[in-house]
């Protein structure tokens, strides 16, 4: 078994044994499901509103899972001292990051599918998963970067809230279409909200939103490269 799969399986096992992971993964699907039920109970038409809410839920899902899961996998290793032990085996830093990144993407896709199914049923799932995954890359890299400077989970949770606030802005402003500020485009979630809105509400195809997907992938890859460079540099720094 390759070293990548050893870490992948180990992290899957750790994630399963941690109740917090389950809470993070199920939070957005459950919250969206409850919202849907409440809105329906109030007599509003969920058929249209449900579609309009999908971009917001997808963005929230990517912020929560993207930033939290990968970072938590790293911080737990740091807290237990096992990252140092892993780095004293032949495994490379890239293999460790790749395994943890893959498992985080795997969890995020599962959560996004649950979210879509609960809200609008089995429509546009492949398109929304592609968009959500592209947006998730930036969040994963952001979480990974912040995790390197946190010495404990508590410290991470405190500092990460500052990062989540600006990322959530496009998601909130999605419900105020008259607010069309150019600076919003600096926030990566803007493209995630816009692309998913185009797909679910305007019935656009993946090709129509390829530009937004490309921008998200580029932003994600740049931040991921910065995160990997930072980790490698911090690792070599004598302590």
């Amino acid at each position: 078994m390759s070293r990548f799969w050893v870490i992948f399986r180990k992290d899957l096992r750790v994630a399963r044994s941690e109740g917090l992971f389950l809470l993070i993964v199920l939070w957005a699907p459950l919250a969206s499901g409850v919202t849907r039920w409440v809105v329906s109970a109030l007599g509003r038409d969920m058929a249209t509103l449900g579609l309009q809410m999908i971009p917001m839920w997808l963005a929230m899902n990517s912020i929560l899972i993207g930033i939290m899961v990968l970072a938590m996998l790293f911080i737990m290793e740091k807290e237990a001292g096992t990252m140092a032990a892993l780095r004293l085996t032949p495994i490379t830093l890239i293999e460790i990051i790749a395994a943890k990144l893959t498992i985080s993407l795997f969890i995020s896709v599962a959560s996004a599918i649950a979210l879509i199914l609960l809200n609008v049923g089995a429509i546009k799932i492949p398109e929304l998963i592609v968009i959500s995954t592209a947006g998730m890359l930036f969040m994963l890299a952001a979480g990974l970067l912040v995790a390197q400077f946190a010495t404990s989970m508590m410290q991470f949770m405190t500092s990460v809230r500052l990062l989540m606030l600006p990322l959530a802005l496009p998601m909130i402003l999605h419900f105020f279409p008259h607010v069309e500020a150019e600076w919003l485009k600096l926030i990566p979630t803007y493209f995630l909200v816009r692309a998913s809105h185009e797909v679910v509400v305007m019935n656009a195809s993946l090709a129509d939103v390829a530009g937004d997907i490309g921008i998200m992938l580029l932003q994600g890859l740049i931040l991921l490269a910065i995160a990997i460079f930072t980790i490698a540099k911090l690792e070599k720094r004598p302590s």
């Binding site: 050893v6 096992r13 941690e18 237990a80 032990a85 004293l88 490379t92």
Partner: protein, 289 residues
């Protein structure tokens, strides 16, 4: 003799910003040898371990392990090394078996020998239990078992018995002896004289980044140690404790006088300890913070 050398360190220098942690140290370790690397906190022991394992890169000097340069061939070298640290850095939510299996697989080994290994460490009935439920001694034994999971040629042990009770300490000493018998080279850093006396063929004293002595422990004790005699004497106020050097001519006469006078209550000889030898050589105590 060259193929007998498993670790060769030459002129190793390393600084943390402006503090020089290691000052051109050189030493070698032969196959099957147990080398104790002794020094108080801040002497440079952990820095040496970090350099030997390629966690940091030396400012100057070179390290060759199993005839390969470190850190250039770090990955290949690490495959042949077993490492054990003071802190039990294991996955608490996984079982003991899973913890060992992960590291065996990362080293490209099968997991078939793990039950035997766990049994040797007295953990045979604990393999399917989460490590979070283990006692401190059990966790430390698991960490040592993990160091052996890749069947290493060299064991690097950084304070392996720190904070353990005497039973667990003795158990680990036995296990390290077994490894020595099968030809494993052991590099151990410690402040614990019991570790050194129980295991080491050779010791290096490190102080403020420099090697102060490098020899077999008995030779060091002969050369730098002072054997003593402790005598408890009865006097009018009660009992008086007197300590005399064993190798001085007057000592025998004084003791003979006290014996004739019937004043001697107890009498004990005390061999020189490595701790005292360390003080004599460096002027510092080993447990100095």
């Amino acid at each position: 003799m060259a193929d007998q050398r498993v670790i060769e360190v030459s002129d190793l220098t390393f600084s943390y910003r402006k503090t020089e942690a290691l000052k051109k140290i050189s030493f070698t370790v032969d196959r099957g040898e147990v080398l104790g690397f002794l020094g108080p906190n801040g002497a440079g022991k952990s820095t040496t371990v970090k350099l030997l394992t390629g966690q940091i890169v030396p400012d100057k000097g070179s390290i060759r392990i199993l005839d390969r340069p470190m850190p250039r061939e770090r990955s290949r070298i690490l495959n042949k090394i077993g490492l054990c640290f003071e802190a039990p850095n294991i996955y608490p939510k996984l079982t003991g078996f899973e913890n060992l299996a992960i590291f065996a697989k990362l080293h490209g080994q099968s997991t078939s020998h793990i039950p035997r290994l766990m049994s040797r460490f007295g953990l045979e009935n604990k393999g399917n239990q989460r490590v979070a439920s283990y006692s401190k001694g059990m966790k430390q034994r698991l960490v040592v078992a993990r160091a052996l999971v890749n069947r290493p040629e060299i064991l690097i042990l950084d304070e392996p018995t720190q904070g353990l009770d005497p039973t667990n300490k003795e158990m680990l000493h036995e296990l390290f002896h077994e490894q020595q018998e099968v030809g494993t080279t052991i590099f151990i850093t410690t402040h614990d004289m019991l570790d050194v006396e129980a295991m080491c063929d050779r010791v290096i004293f490190l102080n403020e980044g420099s090697i102060m002595a490098d020899d077999d422990p008995k030779a060091l004790m002969r050369r730098h140690g002072k054997a003593l005699i402790h005598v408890s004497l009865k006097n009018t106020d009660g009992v008086e404790a007197v300590t005399l050097p064993i190798d001085e001519a007057k000592t025998a006469d004084r003791i003979a006088d006290w014996l004739r006078e019937g004043r001697v209550e107890t009498i004990h000889s005390q061999e020189a300890t490595l701790g005292q030898v360390f003080i004599n050589i460096t002027g510092r105590r080993l447990d100095h913070e």
